[in-house]
Amino acid sequence: MSKEKSKKKIFTRRNFMITGGVLTTGLVVGVAGLNAHVNKKIRKYSGKGMGEGSSINAWIRIAPDNKVTVAVGRAEMGQGVYTSIPMLIAEELEVPLENIEVIQPQPESPYANTFMMTQKEPNIFKAYELAEKVMAYLPMVMTGGSTSIPDGFNNMRYAGATAREMLKQAAADEWGIERSKVSTENGYVINNDTKAKLSYGDLSAAAREIDLAELPELKNKSDWKLIGTKAKRLDIPEKVDGTAEFGIDIRKEGMLYAAMIHPSVIGGKITGIKNKEEVEGMEGVKRVLLTDYGVAVVANNTWRAKNGALMLEVEEDNSNNQEISSATIQTSLEEILDQEPLATPDTEGDVDAILSDNNQVIESTYKVPYLAHAAMEPLNCTVLVNDDSAEVWVGHQSSSITQTAVSEVAGVSKKNVTVHTTYLGGGFGRRAESDFVLKATAVAKMMKGIPVQTTFTREEDMKNDMYRPAALSRFKGVVNPNGEIHAWDNMIAIQSVSNSAITRIDPSFAPKPKDDIATVEGAAHLPYIMKNKRVAFGDYKSPIQVGFWRSVGSSQNAFFTESFMDECAHAAGQDPYQFRLAKLGKTPRFKAVLEKVAELGNWGAQDGKYRGIALHKSFGSIVGEVCTITKKGDKEFSIDDFACAIDCGTYVNPDTIEAQMEGGIVFGLSAALYGQITWQNGSVVQSNFPDYDMVRMNVSPSIKVHIMENDHYPGGVGEPGTPPAAPALANALFAATGQRIRELPIMNAGYKFS
């Protein structure tokens, strides 16, 4: 008799409560009393986060009508995760993807992003133990770092496979046969002998009482029907008829709308309101509130609230930071370049000896500015604070950060904070921050019992961002006559993003600047063979808040390294593609990507166009891009075409990946061409799209994408498309003009694009 057949009831939710289990949010957690079988890690979350305990496990609920509900603890911000996670589950569960409805669970431990915590392939046995421990301290139900698929690839398939086997066992019990005698198809269990069928919906109640003796086997790749296909996204129908609900679309009975103004200098404080009565007398305005973060005007409509906010006259204490300007920042960064590095994360050979011995040193310093995220949906958050509970509706990358933020400001325990995660009108790292939730909660707390939607105008959003930091990167290189890189010396001056951003989440988890790998990600450990190298950085300390911006350190480091690689190629008199290729002997995956993208981008074509190439690995995936441009006039170009090859290991939905490459390239190009946040008297100069412009249709290139075929574990795809875009374009401009772009944005050098 197989082990699986010896059915053993586990504690149901009800009898577990009677035996005195620990309760949180009304649902069962705790290991005590649960059996020791391998699948307990999944089983014990039955019902959690899925409403009343009718689900098979924490991710899957099947209704009597065979409708499948899947709890996705990741935020849908355009990357397609509301489709890719259901694909992983549906593949193993054997249900049609179209039958799946996605819901957002509350921020509970089964949904923690364990890959983000460990940066390792999750081990199903360890992942949830770790999640439970860490979740007690650090909110980690989080979407970011291109980790949703690396985190979910095994776990979500196991969630589906476990549920499938439980359903099979329930049917086998019903028929009095062994589980091996039944199979599954399209939401039904089939009796192999009699061909009788039972629907998952009919079996679901019995299935959730089944205990499996062991974790089921996952399907072989060759048996996949859904993973690897261009399945249509589940969220698209609502996104073409205007019904998709973003945070800003939340409408509640009796709700009010708020607008806010912030201190005019970073780190400043608004201490008083001079014309409170005047503003409170304006049409539709209900209250003018001084909060810790700024002044809010609460009205019966967003526009009236904003008009009130524009009328405010306030007293401010801006004694600090007024001296901060782009010029002072530049001076500080330059000084850091000349100081001893804070850390040298990548070093080999003796760079100094070669540099001092050689009179053919190529030396260049590159520069990038601060950048704003400028997600399309301006930041907003709707909160209802009651005496001992609170509710929040927001498009946020982390339901657990949201819950913690509301809890802290509202003074309500976390378990009494209900989080409703809507669609996000873009995230890009900005919506992983808690500031807008803290502010909206502060407003709602002063308006107890009334749901208040606080919307930040584009101007307030842009001037109070957590920016991608400015940086300088200095290279000294020596290239041998045969084209070998003899020495590569790179020093970066930048503010630590991880230190700044994680301090805002929980200071005790924030890495020290010297340990912040984001600073050198994509600059250290390059794939190219180099005899002697040193990659170091120095830390710029600043009251400016910096944050994770799509592709983080790689967003600037790819521009630096891949531009300087081009400089080295030209110094050696070699073709930039061949020059790179010759140095990829020890990194075959990089080599394959580079060869593929050169072919896709018609590298070397004699067609009167100019091309630039770049190769970069970030978030576990290798991306090569070739940019093709046409000269239209003096310093006038069209960006005709981007070719892109990505090796992201095993892939889930190739159409989504292509979309992420397309979007990632455009995102990189917007920054390369126009993106700059500058500082004057402690404030940001730019305020809205007219002075912080984006690539639009007329400038946007055509883009073709190739996904490499292999069986490696999946890498991320949301960010890796962005980093190579700027250097590919800058290298193409060099090919066309002989002028090296060493500073972004390119528009500052007088180039025009159409």
Binding site: G78, K239, F246, M376, E377, E662, M697, N698
Partner: protein, 159 residues
């Protein structure tokens, strides 16, 4: 004040200077039309007014009286999508989706004016921002929608 939205007459009581965007979103709870910049720069708030793509974040509602206002809610329903919406689904255009109401309204107006647009026409008329960078798909979908529309016209003609 009387407005005609998606073929229906609607009464609203607001100050005539309020931008149409906020009348739609906050007074009528028609949230399909989006706020992106408030300064006529991004196109997220685009609707059609008497058939012309119009940015509503700076358009005083008073100026929209006695005109036909068409919003994203008025061009098709899930069971009866417009040609543009069908093409959007076919090409899987939206990412975050936030700009897409405005993109779709701009595309509807473009195709009403130029049934078979060239790439240059698309460049000239589609000036909305998509921060997610869906432009290549928007372009492809507009060409597909143009075909779908002309097939529908042919079909009508042959009846």
């Amino acid at each position: 004040m009387k407005l005609n939205i998606n073929g229906k007459d609607i009464d609203v009581e607001v100050e005539p200077g309020m931008p149409l965007l906020w009348v739609l979103r906050d007074e009528l709870n028609m949230t399909g039309t989006k706020f992106g910049c408030g300064v006529s720069s991004c196109g997220a708030c685009t609707v059609m007014i008497d058939g012309v793509a119009t940015r509503t974040c700076t358009l005083p509602v008073g100026n929209a009286q006695n005109k036909k206002i068409t919003t994203i809610e008025g061009i098709g329903s899930p069971s009866n999508l417009s040609a543009v919406q069908q093409a959007w689904v076919e090409h899987q255009v939206p990412q975050c989706g936030y700009c897409q109401s405005g993109m779709i309204m701009a595309a509807e107006a473009l195709l009403d004016e130029i049934p078979n647009p060239t790439d240059d026409d698309i460049d000239a008329k589609m000036t909305n921002i998509c921060r997610c960078g869906t432009y290549t798909r928007v372009r492809a979908a507009i060409h597909t929608a143009a075909k779908l529309r002309s097939q529908a016209t042919d079909l009508l003609g042959s009846l």
